[in-house]
């Protein structure tokens, strides 16, 4: 992405040692470097350099895996967390579709005076547009339909659509300058989740499951909750490609709980099969699987064994997890009536809190429908109604139960939306197209600096003028809160030391951290 000329904070330059090339190659490279320098000065030590590079190659780590518990063995070898983490677990509230930042938290008071004027060319520049608005003859500015007010001690401007978010505004770490490389949903949602626009890479949750492991052996390390779609909204597809473990073992993939009926299908044993019978059956299956593993040597067989065991334990732990009957009245007062309806975003937020209590490492809650190409005035209030109170309730609940100190909560979509109207702009309605150059997210909890707004966008919420945060830096910062150095959490695959933040250099946004 070309940076705005007003932007003073340039992202750092590329450095060869930070590229995700295999460690062996890096050592080879530095050996060659040494040789060049050496030859340049003395010219008689070729043998030494050759020896050095040979030693470097032989020092390559060997992958030894404990057969009984492969996940554990790998984790011990990884040496994680790299440093004492501020947050032990994370909850990611994913707003699929791309929430319109200028209608929610990125207040642009100057827009009202520019209603229906064309956005200046100097602002839009030569940016490529989506197929949905590229054909438009005009790009009329659509100021937000809603009023903004300052809230909290920080005096942060919040849209009237978010009355509950406004109440906790002093706890939030708002980032107005997240930016991404993709302008369409599929590549953008893959990029923010996996660090790559193309499918096949592990997502954030899988990296955490791989790197940090489970805190509770009876529940999956990484759980995904989907919110039931509202047909009035424009829902983009969300599927398991987003919580795939990519090239990592499939035991690190997210486990999706169903949003209606039984959270996990066929969880209860059938009539006439008791727990002991089930155990015997599993032991027999495990024996056969171990035989297959020793014959064929496919590590996925180990993953299969681990998953059977997990399913067995989940038969006891999931009913307890989803049983809300013991929640005190204060819970219902806080979350509101939606919390009793399975599949709502509010219900999922309550489940997310219960998972945090029970040691689930990473919970991702998907809420679709933010893709407001048209009828923003009609749809956006519905979206906010569905999510605003739930977010507030979740944060407040975590806070009063003492969980927010070591839990990280992230609220983000895959990109933002344009200030100009898609389709017709009328006095009381407008639409907004995809906008990758800047969008607003918030985070709260362990490791973050509360009550700040990071970064600034221009008067049109179109370009970044201060402190850009690319999604890979956003992800690096999330990892840092969890005690992970994003450059060190790597996995050798296809000749690369693969990592969540991808091959380009990424850095932790220190300004967000406490």
């Amino acid at each position: 992405m070309k940076q705005h000329p007003l932007c003073t904070d340039c992202e750092p330059e590329l450095d060869i040692t930070s590229l995700p090339i295999p460690a062996g190659l890096k050592r080879g490279w530095s050996a060659i470097e040494t040789r060049r320098r050496f030859l340049g000065r003395s010219g008689k030590v070729l043998g030494w350099a050759a020896l050095a590079s040979l030693l470097g190659e032989s020092a390559l780590r060997s992958h030894g895996a404990d057969v009984k518990n492969p996940a554990l063995a790998t984790r011990n070898n990884l040496g994680l967390p790299h440093f004492a983490p501020k947050a032990k677990r994370a909850i990611y509230l994913f707003m699929s579709g791309g929430p319109p930042q200028m209608d929610l938290l990125d207040y642009k008071p100057g827009l009202a005076a520019q209603f229906n004027k064309d956005i200046p060319d100097s602002v839009r520049g030569s940016q490529q547009l989506t197929g949905m608005t590229a054909g438009q003859s005009r790009f009329p500015i659509a100021p937000s339909h809603w009023a903004f007010k300052q809230h909290g001690q920080t005096g942060t401007w919040v849209s009237e659509l978010l009355p509950y978010t406004a109440r906790m505004i002093d706890d939030l770490t708002i980032v107005k300058t997240v930016n991404t490389d993709a302008i369409n949903h599929e590549p953008a949602i893959m990029l923010i989740n996996t660090g790559n626009m193309n499918p096949g890479k592990p997502c954030l949750g899988s990296w955490l499951a791989y790197g940090l492991g489970s805190m509770n052996d009876n529940l999956p390390t990484f759980i995904v909750l989907q919110t039931k779609t509202n047909p009035k909204e424009n829902n983009q597809p969300v599927s398991s490609r987003l919580w795939s473990s990519g090239f990592l073992s499939s035991e690190y993939a997210g486990v999706g709980l169903r949003s209606g009926g039984d959270p996990v299908l066929y969880l209860a044993d059938p009539d006439g099969v008791d727990r002991d019978t089930r155990r015997k059956m599993l032991d027999a299956v495990e024996q056969i699987n171990r035989q297959t593993q020793s014959d064929v040597g496919d590590p996925e067989t180990n993953a299969r064994i681990a998953q059977y065991e997990m399913a067995f334990r989940m038969q006891a732990s999931v009913p307890e997890l989803t049983d809300l009957s013991k929640e005190p009245q204060s819970t219902w007062d806080l979350y509101g009536p939606d919390a009793k309806i399975p599949g709502t975003f509010t219900y999922n937020c309550l489940l997310a809190r219960r998972m945090a209590e029970r040691g689930v490492r990473f919970t991702q809650v998907y809420k679709r429908g933010w893709d407001v190409h048209g009828d923003v005035v009609g749809v956006l209030p519905v979206l906010c109604q569905e999510t605003d109170r739930a977010c507030y309730a979740l944060i407040t609940d975590l806070k009063r139960r003492g969980l927010l100190d070591d839990t990280l909560v992230v609220w983000a979509g895959e990109f933002g939306r344009t200030v100009y109207s898609q389709g017709g702009l009328s006095a009381d309605n407008y639409g907004r197209d995809h906008h990758p150059r800047c969008f607003t997210t918030w985070m709260v909890g362990g490791g973050l600096r509360p009550g700040i707004t990071y970064g600034e966008t221009d008067d049109y919420s179109y370009n970044i003028v201060k402190d850009p945060v690319h999604v890979r830096n956003f992800n690096a910062t999330i990892l840092a809160c969890l005690g992970i150095d994003h450059n060190k959490l790597t996995y050798e695959f296809q000749g690369l030391d693969q990592r969540l933040t991808g091959p380009a250099p990424a850095y932790v946004v220190q300004g967000l951290l406490a």
Partner: protein
């Protein structure tokens, strides 16, 4: 009986060399100025060369002792001793060139230098008097000198190690009890402990600058390890001019482009962050005071507010047992991070409903290494406080969802590092909650959904 005379010529040589060695520090004073680059170029071979004379010096007494049985070895001892002298002198010269060239000063540098000079002179005299000793005359002088040389070597080597690895290199991972004896308390910073300088500025300088500008090394004659030293400046004058950030060299040097050769911190050390620079600028603008407690726009205490964690002792002997626990289902101890001294977390969530006081008591032997106890929703009772009082490094204690009533809570009072206490969803009584007031170290206390829950906020954060 033959009488060995010390050859006059040799004695003269030794005297002359010793004289030069003793004099040169006064001629070429280590005054913090850097000198010609070639000095440093050669000087940087000092850390490589120095191991050779050390080897020879250590070998001499070995050969002398072994020579009691095998005379051939004693003959070679003389040769090795002369070799030691032959290598020690150039090593000393290179070391001096390194310090003089790079402008190093400081107590450790001078200690290392004088140690080396004394060592060299002592070695030369050893070589001079040895022939007399071999034929039985003056049986005490040579052994005494040799012992002295070895002690000088030990002292000099330690000073040198402190220079290259840092003065706390040996003590950092020492078991806590031993460290108590060895490490000295940090020197005063010459400012009000509650001041903005002490709270915010000094920690930055201490972390980023003092390695080169402290008591052990004073590059450019500048020390930044206390307020008076900071304001005193270095060889080139003042570095902080109160009220004038643009004229303060300290700020100028840290805000140069990183490629500039005057950029600080030098040699690829971690640069100051923009926030730290902003803070120092604001402090200088406001008068660079040693007493002011607040600067417009900045909080006096670091924002996280929690005291830095204390490293736990060495538990490597218990590692096999910890690993065995991790392989099994049940309560386990988990490392906080890859750094063992960050301590252990006691995790019981897998078997929370059956984990009771007796099981907790079994973790007694790990007590001093546990920094966080996750006992949420376990079966423990008030009797657990008896065990928990021995968890001396405990920083966070989660008792939420247990049957605790808080009787005996006061036993936690001596846990000075305990900052987080979660008693949500317990039967905590008002009476027990009152004892929390006697624990000023607590910063995050949660009493949600207990009989003792305050009306307003359930989370109490003390300033």
């Amino acid at each position: 009986m033959q009488r060995a005379r010390i050859p006059t010529a040799a004695a003269l040589r030794v005297t002359a060399t010793a004289f030069i060695l003793l004099l040169s520090p006064f001629v070429f004073r280590l005054n913090g100025h850097t000198h010609a680059d070639w000095l440093q170029f050669f000087g940087r071979f000092h850390p490589a060369l120095l191991h050779i004379p050390i080897g020879f010096i250590v070998l001499v007494p070995i050969l002398e002792v072994a020579g009691v049985r095998r005379t051939a070895l004693r003959e070679s001892a003389g040769f090795v001793l002369r070799l030691a002298v032959a290598f020690a002198l150039p090593t000393l010269a290179l070391g001096y060139m390194l310090a003089y060239g790079s402008g190093d000063t400081g107590s450790t540098v001078t200690g290392h230098m004088w140690g080396a000079i004394v060592l060299c002179i002592s070695l030369m005299i050893c070589a001079l008097v040895r022939p007399a000793w071999t034929i039985g005359q003056q049986p005490r002088v040579y052994p005494a000198l040799l012992t002295f040389s070895l002690l000088a070597l030990l002292w000099t080597g330690h000073q040198g190690g402190s220079l290259s690895h840092g003065s706390d290199y040996l003590t950092r991972y020492m078991p806590a009890g031993m460290r108590h004896v060895f490490s000295s308390s940090p020197p005063g910073i010459g400012a009000d402990p509650a001041s903005f300088y002490a709270q915010r500025i000094h920690p930055v300088l201490d972390q980023k600058c003092v390695a080169c500008h402290g008591s052990s090394t004073e590059k450019g004659g500048l020390r930044l390890d206390s307020y008076p030293n900071l304001m005193h400046g270095g060889k080139d004058g003042l570095v902080v001019i109160a009220g004038k950030p643009e004229a303060s060299v300290l700020l100028a040097r840290v805000t140069l482009p990183t490629s500039d050769k005057h950029f600080m911190p030098a040699e690829g050390r971690t640069p100051l962050t923009p926030d730290e620079i902003k803070m120092i600028r604001a402090w200088i603008t406001a008068g660079a005071s040693s007493t002011a407690t607040s600067i417009p726009g900045f909080a006096a205490a670091a924002q996280s507010g929690d005291p830095p964690p204390q490293p736990v002792g060495d538990y490597s002997a218990l590692m096999p047992e910890i690993q065995r626990m991790q392989q099994q289902q049940g309560a386990k101890l988990v490392l906080v991070s890859a750094k063992p001294s960050d301590g252990l977390i006691l995790r019981t969530v897998d078997i929370a409903s059956t984990f009771n006081d007796a099981q907790l008591a079994q973790f007694q032997k790990f007590a001093p290494y546990i920094v966080e106890a996750e006992l949420s929703r376990t079966d423990i009772t008030d009797a657990a406080f008896e065990t928990l009082r021995s968890f001396t490094h405990l920083r966070a204690l989660r008792l939420d969802g247990t049957a605790i009533t808080g009787s005996g809570l006061a036993k936690l009072a001596p846990l000075k590092q305990l900052t987080y206490l979660n008693l949500s969803n317990t039967h905590l009584t008002m009476q027990a909650a009152a004892t929390l007031k006697s624990m000023p170290q607590l910063r995050h206390v949660y009493l949600f959904n207990t009989p003792a829950e305050p009306d307003q906020a359930s989370a109490k954060s003390k300033p």
